[in-house]
Every structure is written in C-alpha cells, then in structure tokens.
C-alpha cells in the first residue's frame, strides 16, 4: 500500500497521479561553501511571495537577525562563527604559533521538500499536496489552521502565521469563533507559480554566488557529488552532503545541502525521519490498546456481584 510506504524511493503517488502533466522533480542544491551571507535570497523570497514583515530586531547572534525558518521566513541564512580552520592544511590552516583559526560559515536554509514529507502526510484537509514538480505546497484556500503539520516536520520548517488578517479578507462565516490572526500555515512553495511559468525560484534567481542552485533533482545530485569531491581534494575542513541520500529517513530531500560541519551546527537535525515511517506499527498499537480498553472495562463488569 503506497499510502504507508517505507520511506525510500519516490514520493507516494507521484508522478503517476499527474499523468501527462508530470514534470521532472525539481529542487535546490544549496552549496554553503560559496554563501556570502548577503541574504538576497531572504529578501527576494519575501518580495516575490508577498510575505509580511514580522519584526525588525537585532538578535545579537552573529549576522543572523532572522533567527529561524517560520511562516514569515521561507529562506533563512544561518551564520556560524567557529574557532576551526577552513582548510585542514595549507595557508588557511593554522600553523603552530600562528593566529587562532577562525571560520565563518553561512548557510541559506529552506524547506527540504522531502520525498516523504511529514507535513503532507499529517495534513487532514488535503491542503498540503505534492505538485507536478514533486514539491510540497500548502493550498491556502483549504488550510483550516489545525496546526498538525507543524510538529510533524522533523526540520521545524512549516509554521502557523499569527499576524493580523488583512482588512480586505471576506467576513467570517462563524464570527463568534473568528480569530484575529491569519491562522493558517505557511512555508516555501519552491515558487510554484514561477515554476509554472518556466522561471527559477526567486531565491535562486537572486543568489549572486550560485550558492543556491535550482534544477532537476537528479542533475543536482550529480553536480553536488562532483563539488564534494573537489572540496575534499582541496583539503577543506569537513565538507559533506546533507539530504542527498534517497535512503535517508525522509527518502532524500528535494532541497539538499553541502555543509562544512555536522548538521546540528547549522540547526539541522542529524538524522531526520518522517514520523509516518512508524505509523503502521503505531496504528497496530492503537488498535490493540483500544481492544484492551474494551476488555478491561468488560472485566470490571465480571469483577463481582457483591
């Protein structure tokens, strides 16, 4: 049964459901080794997708004033300051008696568009769906703000928007239960509208160093492998691909990364697993427990006719 398939291989029901309209699976390869932390991706994303402003505060955490991916930040550049050498040997490594090693890592984080997406599996309304490009998108006219996708994401990407709804919005059908905030969940759509028009996503378009590369996922994986081999040959400190493996806990990311340290250093989970991978067993446990409730209460009726 495909609905509860093991988390490997292709996304469930894609691309078959699209028939002739299916497109190659598109994604991002974010090469953090060339990121310069300019945040053009964050700005381009906000502008193209009309994402509301959500606070202008200094965090004090290096140059990161965005903080995290959220309903109102679909790209987030992480800044990591480390007392580690950039290269294991050569001029960028520290010789004995030389200056302290220091490297400044930058990584533009984004929704991973998982092959097996926890948010999509969890969505009870069918608002979250897989597009013909194999990406994961929220249909905002269907989302009812139940919030179940939020804890279902192993990366903490998708989030509920709590900003005031626009004054132009249609009046509520149930005014008594109406809330003052937007109330729906939002995340990166991989610029579904731009893709439909044959354009690359806004962040990739704006990236001045090609740290964010957009393309067909298969092609990107090959490109990333070559880049990794080059960095290893040049003696860089700690290069690794993150999320390119179709055998990982989410069946591989549609948007994967080249990092220079452990994933958790960038605020990423080291071994993400889609919650649904455990669901067949969890349903069995639930059914057994339900049967036990019945049997247990029945036993209370036998317990004594005193």
């Amino acid at each position: 049964m495909s609905a509860l398939a093991e988390p490997t291989g292709a996304p469930a029901a894609w691309p078959n459901t699209y028939g002739d309209e299916a497109k190659p699976r598109m994604g991002f390869f974010t090469d953090t080794t060339v990121c310069i932390g300019c945040k053009a991706c964050e700005v381009a994303c906000k502008e193209w997708n009309l994402i509301p402003e959500d606070g202008l505060e200094w965090s004090g955490l290096s140059y990161d004033n965005t903080g995290e991916l959220s309903a109102n930040s679909w790209r987030h550049v992480a800044f990591v300051e480390q007392a580690k050498p950039l290269k294991l040997d050569g001029e960028l490594a520290t010789a004995d008696g030389g200056p302290e090693p220091l490297r400044w890592l930058m990584e533009s984080d984004v929704c991973k568009h998982c092959t097996h997406a926890g948010c999509l599996d969890a969505c009870p309304t069918g608002s979250l769906f897989r597009t013909e490009f194999g990406t994961v998108v929220v249909q905002e006219d269907i989302c009812n703000g139940c919030g179940y996708c939020v804890p279902a994401c192993p990366f903490g990407v998708i989030d509920k928007r709590d900003l005031p709804r626009s004054p132009d919005d249609a009046p509520l059908a149930l005014p008594l239960l109406g809330k003052k905030e937007d109330g729906r969940v939002w995340k990166c759509t991989l610029c579904y509208d731009r893709l439909k028009g044959g354009h690359e996503p806004a962040c990739a378009k704006a990236c001045p160093t090609d740290s964010i590369q957009f393309g067909e996922l298969d092609e990107l994986r090959g490109r990333a492998q070559k880049r990794l081999e080059k960095l290893e040959a040049e003696g860089w400190n700690g290069p690794r691909l993150y999320g390119e493996d179709p055998d990982d806990g989410v069946g591989g990311f549609g948007a994967f990364f080249l990092l220079l340290d452990e994933p958790e250093v960038y605020g990423l989970p080291p071994d993400p697993v889609v919650p649904t991978a455990q669901l067949p067993r969890l349903w069995r446990t639930t059914a057994l427990a339900a049967a036990a409730v019945t049997v247990g209460i029945a036993a209370a009726f036998l317990g004594g006719r005193e």
Binding site: E81, E100, P124, T125, S127, K179, P269, I297
Partner: protein
C-alpha cells in the same frame, strides 16, 4: 585572541557528552496547539470509555449505570468537537476536516472517529431522553460502543506521529497510557453521577484504570531515558506530580469507601478526574518542553546514527 561569542555559539552539554547546536535554538517547532487540546485529550477519553461502559452496562441489564454513562459520554462527545474547532486557526473552515480520509494522518482518522462517535452517542442520548424510536436508539448505542475505544486511544497516535521527541519516542506507550487514562476518567465520572449500588463496574474501571496507568506512565518515563527527564521538570513535572497524587488518592478512596459512602464516591471520582486531566496536561506540556531544547532532538538521532554506523 580567542573569539568568544557572548551567546556561546553552540556548545551545549548533555549528560556525558558535548554537542553542538545553533545558538541553542530549537530544531523542531513547538506545537501551536492551545489549552483546548489537552482538554480535548481528556474529554475525548471520557467520551470514548463512557461509550464502552454504557454499552456493557446496557447488555448486563444495569440500566441505571447505562443511563448515566450514556449522558456523560454524550456531553463529552458534544464538547469535544467544540474544543477542536475553537483551536483551529480558521474555525469557519472546520468542515474541511471531512474533505478527505487519510490513513497517513491520525488527525484525519480521528476527525472521522469523533464525528461517528459524537453523532452516535448524542443521537442515542436524545432518543433516550425523549423515549422514542427505540430501535434507532439501539443502533446508535451500538455505533457509539464500537467507535468509543478508538476514540479513547487514537489521541496517543496523534501525538506520537510527530517529530516531538518526548511524544514520538513514546509511540509504543502513549496509546496505552491514554486508553488506561480514558477508562479511569469515564469510570470516575460515572461513579460521581451514579448511586453506589449500581456503580460497581464504573468504580472498578476507575480503580483498575488508575493502577494500570500509573504503571504505564512509570514504564514510559523509564523507556524515554534522557528525553524522559522533561517529565520531571517544569510544568510537565508539576502536572505529572499532581496527576499521580490525585489519581492515587482518588482511586484509594474509591477502593476503601466508594461502595458505602456517597460522599467518598463523589470525592474519589472527582479526584481521579482531576488527576486524569492533569495527566493530559503533563503529556501536552512535556511535548513543548522537549521541542524547545535541541538536545532532545539531536542526542537520540546521534545515537541512532552511531548504531546504524556500528551495524555497517
């Protein structure tokens, strides 16, 4: 010169190990659910197990107990959807829950279970009150009996099917804990509203439910290991202690004096109900606490990777 970041850029210590993090920031998002959800976890449990108590009381000819369980279940079943709809970000779109049926989503499956259970028990209660259409009432009672147990336990799957460490790592225990808690809650509620001579099965369900649940919670916390420490901290810890105290005291009172003293039956039942509500709050809050600290996300995953590496 060593560059020391004021916020310590990342190194955090967990028992025996040092781990990196991104400024100690959370990796998974905290749930966005509000107070309605732990109340629903409690109410849904009462509704589900009350349907079972009601059905069995009916079959065994204990109509006094059957009637109070039917009304308790109907009230809890009627309150539950209101709580859930009130928690939605867009309550006016609550019917979108019934656009699809997705076995991959415990929220979807649960919505359908709740619709069936709530419809059945409220139909049965209304017909009982009006004293009409007895065959329809029997059908509704049967439907309520069948949908009750899954209503009592699916909420365990709802929480466990997430990336929240303290919930997902307890996937083998949560449906059992919630099932036992539901049986205890419904039994306690029926004990409060039923004369002692008819309430025997409800009393025993409450006492046994509490006993089983106390054991299961202990087992769950032990199995969770490092992640389970959130159950000893903060709000989760406080609610947990209140829960253990109230359920144990209430069950003890029911066992010792519940049969003879009406006052003891009401007090004991109320204590168990308060304790079960506190248990739901404890589990709810533990989820938030475990999401907030990246150690609970990173360490189990690192250990998993090490095991995988060792196997290769």
């Amino acid at each position: 010169m060593t560059y020391a970041h004021p916020n310590g850029n990342g190194s955090i210590t967990a028992v025996g190990t040092t781990m990196e993090s991104y400024y100690g920031k959370p990796i998974v998002k905290e749930p966005v659910w509000k107070a309605e959800i732990p109340w629903y976890l409690f109410m849904g449990g009462v509704a589900g197990a009350a349907s079972v108590l009601h059905g069995l009381a009916r079959v065994t000819g204990n109509h006094r107990l059957a009637r109070s369980c039917l009304y308790i279940g109907a009230v809890a079943d009627a309150v539950s959807p209101v709580l859930l709809i009130s928690d939605l970000g867009r309550p006016e779109r609550f019917l979108n829950m019934l656009r699809v049926f997705k076995v991959t989503s415990p929220m979807s499956v649960g919505s359908w279970i709740l619709v069936a259970s709530s419809g059945a028990s409220n139909t049965a209660a209304a017909l009982e009150g009006l004293g009409i259409l007895r065959p329809v009432k029997w059908l509704a009672e049967a439907a309520s009996f069948v949908t009750g147990p899954p209503l009592a336990t699916y909420t365990g799957a709802l929480l466990a099917n997430t990336a929240i460490p303290v919930w997902s790592e307890a996937r083998d225990e949560l449906p059992w804990v919630f099932g036992a808690s539901a049986a205890a809650s419904a039994g306690a509620a029926a004990t409060v509203f039923t004369p002692a001579d008819a309430a025997g099965p409800a009393r025993r369900a409450a006492i046994a439910g509490v006993a089983v649940e106390l054991g299961l919670v202990q087992a769950m916390e032990r199995k969770l290991g490092f992640v389970g420490e959130v159950y000893r901290q903060g709000e989760a810890g406080r609610y947990g202690r209140v829960s253990k105290l109230c359920t144990a005291a209430g069950a003890g009172l029911l066992a010792l004096r519940g049969k003879r003293s009406r006052a003891a039956a009401v007090t004991g039942g109320a204590l168990v109900l308060a304790g079960e509500l506190a248990l739901r709050w404890s589990v709810f809050k533990a989820g938030f606490q475990s999401a907030r600290d990246p150690r609970y996300t990173v360490r189990p995953q690192k250990e998993r990777l090490q095991k995988k590496g060792a196997r290769r």
